[in-house]
């Protein structure tokens, strides 16, 4: 059954068009801009709901635009892309609301929101990309549309962070591009979803394909912040909080992880991966990243930096799941973490942003007793943090549970051990924050306190983290419900491991 491919185009336009209009708006048209943003994201969510239902009912959506020989833009929606689009668009809505609140009274908002919308459009493009070229297309555009956001503040630090970001991501993009071109020459044009390239190629070009795999993973690994390609992420936390949320949860890092999924499952295909014996390599990198990220997070005093290292560690759970993809449960765990990590991390960044914006608190050592001043924010933060540790009934537990089961079914005890150790480390760097926030007495005035009247902070800043925190709990508690990320991931995995 075929649905119209224009639905995909519409989904992309629903953020692109507002973005373009916003670029043209004068700075003081706050209301119009906000309306545009919100309408865009609501429409997008509506369209994506339609898409999801359609996919569930077995419709296929695709649209092709051949460019030159062997190169075509191909958008298509499969369950996997639907997962990512849904995540991005929902989180986009929340992030937009948050950003509106966060950036009240700050300059250059038209730019900011314009790039913001572009960023999401491009992320959706990554999700809907139906072949490697289309993926690259949007993947590189993502780099570009996030750069202005990272350097939005225009301070020397943020410029340095932006430069670093570019060095890493453009370098990675170049590797990716190179490898993709080479692969295309070897295998011919190839759509995602075709279970990888023909197996006889593995016999003919085994070592070369392995090399290309390494290059491809290095390419997406930069965005997914795999160690040792993670250096940009902690620096990029200098950006405003909504941007961090975007980087860590909605778009960039996610796009990298999503890329890993695509490469393993759709470009190479599980069978080829197993024949080539490349999965352990990915496992190794992912475990290394998980541990390194956690260790580094332990040492940070800057809250957002700690969160950034935590992201490095957490995002590799996805890679870890994929690296055990021949085991159904691990694959489920990895994929579902794509969603879960996003929601949890965005909660944390929202909260960190609230602290910074309301009280000027950036460092953990300044957070003593902060929960008294901002209980709701810290409540949400707590939920997110507990989720990160992987405590039940949060979403984090669900992914960790499936990852653990998968690792066991793969008899990969190293991974099991790493999972345990990582949980411990996660607890070691999150629990002290919670303790100091909830149970310490505040000392002295806050660095830069603003008063927002009735609520502890602006309502637009407060609602998104509360909502996401609630979602973290909900999708954990209701993990086995009919409509949950987990259910959808099972549906995805049906396609790959019937």
């Amino acid at each position: 059954m075929n649905g119209s491919g224009w639905l995909l185009v519409l989904i992309m336009l629903s953020s692109f068009v507002p973005g373009i209009i916003i670029f043209g708006l004068p700075e003081d048209r706050v209301r119009l801009r906000t309306t545009l943003n919100l309408c865009g994201s609501l429409i997008k969510i509506g369209l994506i709901v339609v898409l999801n239902v359609g996919i569930y009912l077995g419709y296929s959506y695709e649209i092709r635009l051949p460019l030159v020989a062997g190169m075509e833009v191909y958008l298509h929606a499969d369950p996997l892309s639907a997962l990512f689009t849904t995540l991005s668009s929902v989180l986009w809505l929340l992030t937009t609301i948050y950003a509106v609140g966060y950036l009240e009274d700050s300059p250059n908002r038209s730019h900011f929101f314009g790039y913001f919308s572009l960023c999401v459009t491009v992320t959706i493009g990554i999700a809907l990309a139906g072949n490697l070229i289309t993926f690259i297309l949007f993947y590189e555009m993502l780099t570009l549309s996030t750069y202005p956001l990272i350097v939005h503040r225009g301070t020397p630090q943020s410029l340095r962070a932006g430069r670093n970001y570019l060095v890493y991501t453009l370098g990675g993009g170049a590797l990716f591009f190179l490898a993709a071109a080479w692969l295309q020459v070897l295998t011919g044009p190839m759509d995602f979803g075709s279970d990888g390239f023909a197996s006889h190629l593995v016999v003919e070009h085994g070592p070369l394909l392995s090399l290309l795999f390494v290059l491809l993973i290095a390419g997406v690994g930069v965005k997914a912040a795999l160690v040792p390609l993670h250096g940009w992420l902690p620096q990029a936390m200098i950006a405003p909080a909504p941007v961090s949320a975007l980087l860590h949860a909605v778009a960039v890092v996610k796009a990298g992880a999503f890329g890993i999924v695509r490469i393993v499952l759709d470009v190479y295909g599980l069978e080829n991966m197993i024949v080539l014996g490349l999965l352990p390599l990915l496992t190794f990198v992912a475990t290394l990243t998980i541990l390194w990220g956690s260790f580094r997070a332990l040492q940070q005093d800057d809250l957002k930096r700690r969160l950034a290292f935590s992201t490095i560690s957490q995002i590799s759970y996805i890679g870890l799941g994929i690296s055990l993809a021949d085991h159904r449960l691990a694959l489920i765990g990895g994929l579902v973490h794509l969603v879960h990590q996003g929601i949890m991390k965005i909660t944390l960044f929202f909260c960190a942003g609230n602290l910074a914006e309301t009280l000027g608190v950036h460092r953990i050592s300044e957070m003593r007793g902060i929960a008294r001043r901002m209980p709701w924010t810290m409540g949400a933060f707590t939920v997110g943090a507990l989720g990160m540790i992987g405590l039940p009934p949060t979403a984090g537990f669900v992914s960790k549970w499936f990852l653990g089961l998968g690792a066991l079914s793969a008899s990969n005890w190293v991974v099991v051990a790493v999972l345990m150790l990582s949980s411990l480390l996660n607890a070691a760097y999150f629990l002290p924050i919670l303790i100091t926030a909830w149970f310490d007495r505040p000392v002295g005035p806050w660095p830069d306190e603003k008063n927002f009247g009735r609520f502890e902070t602006r309502l637009m800043l407060l609602c998104p983290p509360l909502l996401t925190a609630a979602v973290v709990l909900l999708i954990g508690v209701l993990a086995e419900a009919q409509i949950s990320p987990l259910a959808w991931v099972r549906f995805i995995v049906e396609g790959y491991l019937p």
């Binding site: 507990l386 039940p392 537990f397 960790k400 089961l405 066991l408 345990m420 909830w438 149970f439 993990a479």
Partner: protein, 579 residues
């Protein structure tokens, strides 16, 4: 006594209420102070365990309610052992709640305490009702973490330290349980094959032991219990000692259902560890000076005894069937007694109830714990002795002696407790402690009443109790108590001679900082390395940056142009000539 005709959905509602009511009440605390629901609901906090009691009454044992949407597929129900645990917990929480609300701890004015208290309660009830392991784990975690908030409630440095230790232990326990869960769900281990040797099986058992052993203060993990009992507010201690620690035992029961597994080796280990704990707990208690610490030692010791029962129970399926009732009885006995002791301690330290009779009342549950004849203590010990002699023939001779010794030691401990309580209460009279409440301590009274009368309700216990009425029973029951009581002066002298200053837990408290130091060193080294490399790169690049634009001048010379041009011509002529 079960009202029938309730549909499954109604059971679902009822069962959900058990954990749901405390949670909702806790959630109501997050409402702004000005909102009326928060004030209105506040008096009901103490009544939060009521749905649990209701459930015990309403829900038949064979009912299992499925909630597939709930957290990886929830199943709730109330089996027979769960019923015992739930009843005990509900009662203890009720008593603790009244005690706490009586002194104003539980209510909307103390939102933090109340919230953690109610959450812990919800966790405790929920884990009992959960009929699958993940649900159990969920509520177990909920309870464990909520207790942290109670431990550091008063924010003294001591309670902070205790809280940190507690948290570390909880975290370790969580991970151990998680791994055990994984191993079980991943079908790496199965109950039938557990008896076989295999490192996966050993790992599984080890994880179970660690995970739940931490909760019951089993021997290597006992440290937190003393520190936490010392620091936690007493009403919370009631619930902790009376109800929550039992969750560890329930955990074992849930993972290794008695009567279905037979792991003799593990049984032996548990019996040994439990035996050691039973004695060492007393030693720990004797070292303490604060009553709550002494009670903690007693808990370690008593839970050691329960460990023995469980160890015996998993030795063989046959033993399991017999050990289960004993274990349950022991749990109830200990739970009620310990709860009463803490209630009494609470009442004594806070109120004016320091006359002799109040002290006697306080001492009753203590003696019950020590195994006073006609009390559940003696009944429990008798049952244990029967169990040991029946199932572990090699221990048969040793069991009475050991139990007697344990009983005597407990008595000694209890006397020590009484002395300490008296001193403390006297000391408490000194000016400075202004807040003295005048409420009649009826939760305590009812607790003691329960300790005395409840065992009679239970058919298993009744025969043992009746046996202790007979002379041999009395003799059997009394000599350890007398021994313990009379050895107190010796102990007191020894104690006086020994300086109480000790520093324990040094290793643990130092471990964290030293780890951090190590990390800092590693980090400094790596950072330095990076910086050095980066600096050198920059130097090279900067040199290049200074040099290269100058080099461009070469190309601007006409001579270079000439050479390049002619060379290019010749080169191309050469390479094209070959075509």
């Amino acid at each position: 006594m079960m009202p029938s005709g309730l549909t499954l959905d109604m059971y679902l509602v009822i069962l959900s209420l058990v954990a749901g009511v405390p949670l909702v009440l806790a959630a109501s605390l997050s409402l702004p102070l000005s909102l009326s629901p928060r004030r209105i609901l506040s008096p009901f906090f103490a009544w939060a365990p009521l749905p649990a009691l209701l459930t015990v009454w309403l829900v038949p044992p064979d009912v299992v309610v499925e909630a597939p949407w709930f957290f990886m597929g929830g199943r709730m129900g109330l089996d027979s052992s769960g019923r015992v645990f739930l009843t005990l917990s509900a009662v203890v929480w009720l008593l603790a709640g009244f005690s706490a609300s009586g002194q104003g701890l539980l209510g909307f004015l103390r939102p933090r305490f109340s919230a953690f208290y109610l959450t812990a309660m919800a966790g405790n009830f929920g884990l009992i009702l959960a009929q699958e392991l993940l649900g159990f784990y969920l509520f177990f975690a909920l309870m464990s973490f909520a207790v942290y908030g109670l431990v550091i409630y008063d924010r003294h440095p001591g309670s902070r330290r205790a809280g940190r230790l507690y948290l570390v232990m909880v975290m370790l326990g969580e991970i151990a349980i998680f791994l055990a869960l994984l191993l079980m769900s991943g079908e790496v281990v199965d109950l039938d094959g557990l008896a076989q040797s295999g490192w996966q099986n050993s790992l599984f058992l080890l994880m179970l032991f660690v995970g739940f052993g931490i909760k019951i203060g089993a021997l290597p993990f006992h440290r937190w219990m003393i520190r936490v009992y010392r620091e936690i507010p007493l009403p919370a201690a009631v619930a902790l000692a009376g109800a929550m620690v039992n969750a560890g035992l329930l955990g074992w029961l849930r993972f290794l259902p008695l009567g279905q597994v037979a792991i003799p080796a593990a049984g032996l280990v548990l019996v040994t560890v439990g035996g050691l704990a039973a004695l060492y707990g007393v030693v720990l208690g004797l070292r303490e000076t604060r009553p709550a610490g002494i009670l903690a030692g007693s808990s370690i010791s008593q839970l050691g005894l329960m460990t023995i029962i469980f160890g015996v129970g998993i030795s063989s399926p046959l033993a399991g069937g017999e050990a289960l009732p004993v274990l349950l009885f022991f749990v109830v006995h200990h739970g009620l007694a310990k709860a009463s002791l803490f209630l009494g301690l609470d009442a004594l330290t806070r109120g004016r109830f320091c006359s002799f009779w109040w002290l006697v009342l306080f001492f009753i549950p203590a003696l019950v714990l020590a195994g006073l004849p006609l009390s559940s203590g003696l009944a429990a010990k008798g049952a244990l002795k029967g169990l040991l002699s029946a199932l572990m023939p090699s221990w048969a001779g040793l069991a009475p002696f050991f139990l007697g010794l344990s009983s005597a030691a407990t008595t000694l401990l209890m006397v020590h407790l009484l002395v300490r309580v008296r001193e403390e209460v006297m000391a408490g009279r000194t000016p400075g402690q202004e807040r003295r409440e005048n409420l009649f301590p009826w939760p305590w009274i009812s607790g003691v009443g329960l300790v005395i009368f409840a065992p009679w309700l239970w058919s298993v216990a009744r025969s043992e109790l009746l046996y202790s009425l007979a002379l041999p029973g009395i003799i059997h029951g009394s000599w350890p108590i007398l021994l313990g009581a009379f050895s107190y002066p010796v102990f007191a002298r020894l104690r006086r001679e020994q300086s109480p200053t000790r520093r324990q837990g040094r290793f643990w408290s130092e471990l964290g900082p030293s780890c951090l130091t190590l990390l800092a060193v590693v980090r400094a080294w790596t950072d330095g390395l990076f910086r050095r490399v980066r600096r050198q790169w920059w130097t090279i690049l900067r040199l290049a940056a200074q040099q290269l634009p100058g080099r461009e001048r070469i190309f601007e010379r006409w001579l270079t142009v000439g050479i390049a041009y002619t060379a290019l011509c010749l080169l191309l002529l050469a390479v094209l000539g070959g075509a």
